[in-house]
């Protein structure tokens, strides 16, 4: 028995939605980083599902690239967060508000 494409697409849409909502409503920067991973992985689910459905390798290859890039992104994000935490002792985005206008 194979899982229909539409189920997989629905799953990825839900994961994407959770990611975007999390990113826009949560204030803890660590949770924002997790939400970003959800968004990227939603796209990965899509790509793998389409790749399987279309019998083309291209989607799978792209996923390898996006996973590598996501890892680099997480590294940079955590480094920036660490620099911020050393200066401010907070990971709450609402407390990071020096500039206004």
């Amino acid at each position: 028995m194979t899982i229909p494409l539409s189920w997989v697409l629905a799953l990825s849409a839900v994961v994407f939605g959770i990611g975007v909502i999390g990113l826009l409503t949560r204030r803890n920067i660590l949770i924002l980083l997790m939400s970003l991973e959800l968004i990227l992985n939603a796209a990965n689910i899509n790509l793998v599902a389409f790749s399987n459905h279309l019998h083309s390798m291209r989607g799978n290859v792209i996923v390898v690239f996006t996973i590598a890039v996501a890892a680099a992104e997480a590294a940079v994000g955590l480094a920036i967060l660490l620099a911020l935490f050393r200066n401010r002792r907070t990971v709450n985005l609402d407390e990071v508000r020096e500039m206004k206008g």
């Binding site: 899509n46 459905h53 279309l54 291209r58 890039v69 200066n87 990071v96 020096e98």
Partner: protein, 482 residues
Amino acid sequence: MIQFNAADLVWLLPEIILFVTASAVVLLSVIVRPEARSGLAALAVIGALAAGWAAYGLSDGNVELFSRMVIVDPFATYFRYLFVLAVLGGVLLSVRTLQTEGGNRSEYYGLMLFAAIGMMVMAEAGDLLMVYIGLELMSLSLYILAGFYRRETRSNEAAIKYFILGTLASGIFVYGLSLLYGLTGTTSIRAIGEIVSAGGLSRPALVLALAMVGTAFAFKVAAVPFHMWTPDVYEGAPTPVTAFMSVGPKAAGFAVFLRVFLEAFPAAQPDWNNLVIVLSILTMAVGNIIAIAQTSVKRMLAYSSIGHAGYILIGLVGGTAVGAGAVLFYLLMYTITNLGAFGILVVLQREKGRVETLDDFAGLGKTHPAAALGMLIFLFSLTGIPPMAGFFGKFYLFTAAVKAGYVWLAVLGVLMSAVSAFYYLRVVLAMYMQEPAAAGAGEPMSQPSAVLAVTIAAFLTVGIGILLNPLLSLAAASLPKM
């Protein structure tokens, strides 16, 4: 199956030169003693010049490489020149401030070169996967650069805001890419275009994918309503980085806009045209009107750069060749002028403390006449007063809009330029009509390389009229395939 021919790598010589230089700079910055590290800036400049020279050597090429992953054509070459210019400006402006504020860690120059490679890859991409790789290479380098003064809380704040909204944009882009792949079975820009024009695709799905890809680039060029990050990031980032960031990524974003929307989606033009019109109006209005309320010149220039993205979007409306040419030409004028305007802020910087507020500019015409004259030139150019570079840029943009049948949009653009004159000229007024503040704030530090960069930018801004015809024909010869 992707065809790989090693001999084709010669077409990527500018990127390879930049990559080798950037890697060398990063490695050497660990070895070289702190006093000698400004030599690495010289290395970065030489690398950028060599890349520009290599781009010139390859400028008559019109080839598609690696199964159309990379396209080296006049369009790509034009953007190669533009990014070399931007990175040269960025490096030259940074040398002294990096020593006083940035802890003298010279991997900074390497990151700037990496960002430039990312921009070039975006402009050369023939496949959405390449667009994504270039976008991430550029963005990741810029996130680090924005937060490079890591002991400074404003720099931290700029980096974290830029990072979160930037990665959201690239996440949306990949999701849009995955939908396009599912719809068409390919990610090659031209192949997608052929399938879209053949028709038969589900229209709502296509519009959704289109909107997602478009959103990502609206983020990168800071178009309203995707501009929220811009003022804070531009204000908090180190000033030379802001100068670089306000020109490079914007040009790269528009390069992809032109390549993707004119090449892949001409058939969907009615769908995206209205979207671009709305974006353009919002961007011009919000950027220019909020800029009026700013007291920090740096933040004012950030809003002004949002406004300029709005003018450039006018050139995309209608999807005409004349409009695309005007966009290319305007991007060059904007790059030179904006590098110069932020450059003046760098040049005026003191040993301790930046010069950013309107009050700092009071009486500058008396105390530092040369810097005041430079600022005057750049602000006039941004307003669009003849014979400065910005005037010619706007002239061709608005002419293109009129030719495409959008007279009212051109009129709106001119009106918005009039609004912008208000806040630009307020700085001029402060410089020449107000008395200098009490002395004691200290003199600007000596920054020969930054002064050199600003002087060149000023001469180009004033003298562009002489070079007008060659530059215009260069832009006209560099259009994307439509």
